[in-house]
């Protein structure tokens, strides 16, 4: 077990919120077609409120802090928040589109000891990237930001969300990341909007395209290993937890709402009304999330993929049942291994009535 795994295990045992994702704003200078957020400001936390939350998180034992948005630099006080977070010795990662990062900002981020900056790139072709962000010139500015950050010696990760609008562009983005010295991650997950609107799910790539991605050795490494059939699940799998959401991780919105995860919009409290630690320890919603083990999932516990599936309880919740399957992950498991999930088999099963009797139209 690595030191990091040990730390996660200890945090789980002690009930410590080791990793927090804090969106400091939902405002953004881009209007990405797949974005799950609504960008108007409905009363973001003030600088003082955010500093108070950071104090509370440090006190609660949070180590990993992701500052994201919206676009974090839309807040004029962002560097004040960042500096405060670093003074509290959080391990800070920033998610940004980079459009507002020039040399001076990159230097400031380096001087503040940020662990990593993640920037989204959708294509190396401006006509495709900028059509997704709806901000002309955004690819140019984002790539320049990566260069500024790299020149400061910072770790940069390029996040490449894959959707119908940039299908086939991932090879180019991966090559761009290599040229820039950035890490590269590909994510084919499109989530419903945080308000439940599912219209953007039309942007999800098809199963055939997902299959192609999962069998691309440049993306997954050892294809045989990555696409191997799942081993039979043992007791440890059935007693296992779905993910860190609500267990060692949580998400805080710019308005102070606390959710188990950024992809799991289950309202669990608000730091404007309660101390974070009280929400973390006593929220019935978080305690409900914590009570669910793989064996408690009515469909997924019967699925051969239960031990290897990337099932997201947040996506399942958005589908209507946090104990249910997450259809997008069922499809991923199927297209990765060729083995249908229990949920897919259940849906494909005929109704049971062998003869359908329909009234004759008179």
């Amino acid at each position: 077990m690595s030191l990091m795994q040990e730390m996660n295990e200890r945090a789980l045992q002690l009930g410590v919120p080791l990793g927090i994702h804090l969106d400091v704003t939902y405002r953004c200078n881009e209007r990405c077609i797949h974005c799950y957020l609504e960008h108007d400001d409905h009363g973001e936390m003030t600088t003082a409120e955010i500093k108070d939350v950071l104090d509370q998180l440090a006190e609660a034992g949070t180590f990993f802090l992701t500052l994201s948005g919206g676009e974090v630099l839309m807040r004029r006080d962002f560097f004040e928040i960042l500096e405060y977070a670093r003074r509290l010795l959080f391990n800070v990662r920033i998610k940004t589109n980079g459009v507002m990062i020039r040399e001076a900002e990159a230097q400031r981020i380096r001087n503040l000891g940020v662990e990593q900056v993640q920037i989204s790139i959708y294509s190396r072709h401006p006509e495709i990237h900028d059509a997704i962000t709806k901000l002309p010139g955004s690819l140019k500015h984002s790539v320049e930001a990566i260069r500024f950050l790299k020149s400061q010696g910072l770790k940069v990760a390029i996040a490449n969300v894959l959707m119908t609008a940039n299908l086939g562009e991932h090879d180019g983005v991966q090559a761009l990341a290599a040229e820039l010295g950035a890490n590269y991650t590909l994510d084919p997950t499109i989530t419903p909007k945080i308000d439940g609107d599912t219209s953007i799910l039309d942007l999800r790539i098809s199963g055939a395209e997902l299959n192609e991605v999962f069998h691309n050795k440049n993306l997954v490494g050892d294809v045989e290993e990555f696409c191997a059939p799942p081993p039979p699940p043992g007791d440890d799998v059935m007693e296992g937890l779905p993910c860190s959401a609500g267990h060692t991780a949580a998400y805080i919105t710019p308005y102070g709402d606390v959710f188990p995860c950024v992809q799991f919009p289950l309202p669990s409290g608000n730091v404007r009304r309660q101390k974070f630690i009280d929400i973390w320890r006593s929220s019935p919603e978080l305690n409900q999330v914590r009570s669910i083990h793989a064996k408690d999932l009515p469909v997924c516990s019967t699925c051969s993929h239960v031990g290897t599936c990337t099932r997201c309880p947040g996506l399942a919740y958005m589908e209507g049942n946090m104990r249910g399957p997450s259809t997008a992950d069922c499809e991923k498991s199927f297209h990765r291994t060729g083995i249908p999930s229990a949920n897919m088999l259940r849906k494909a099963r005929p109704s049971g009535r062998l003869i359908q009797i329909q009234p004759l139209a008179v």
Partner: protein, 102 residues
């Protein structure tokens, strides 16, 4: 022996977890967990207290250890963390010591 002064680098992340200090370098992402004795040295690394005083006050007075052994172990610990840029070491007091570890 030349006196040594130690200060925590600002390019680190740190937090107490279950009685142990977790420390990660922002420079190379090296990750350490410090035991109780090492944590005591770490927390006392304010840049202006000599290491010998830290060992006498925070180690020998708190833990059952011989002064020579404590000093030798403290020197090794300081050298190891200094190699990763996690502790700053000098033969004179360091200015602008970092803020308190949470």
């Amino acid at each position: 022996m030349t006196e040594r002064y130690i200060a925590r680098s600002t390019a680190i992340a740190a937090r107490m977890l279950g009685g142990e200090m977790m420390v990660m370098s922002a420079v190379d992402s090296t990750f350490f967990t410090l035991n109780e004795v090492a944590t005591a040295i770490w927390q006392a690394a304010d840049g202006h207290t000599p290491l010998s005083e830290i060992v006498a006050r925070n180690i020998c007075a708190q833990f059952d250890v011989e002064p020579e052994v404590a000093r030798r172990d403290a020197d090794q610990f300081v050298d190891a963390l200094a190699q990763h840029g996690i502790l700053l070491v000098s033969d004179h007091p360091l200015e602008n010591p970092p803020v308190e570890a949470a």
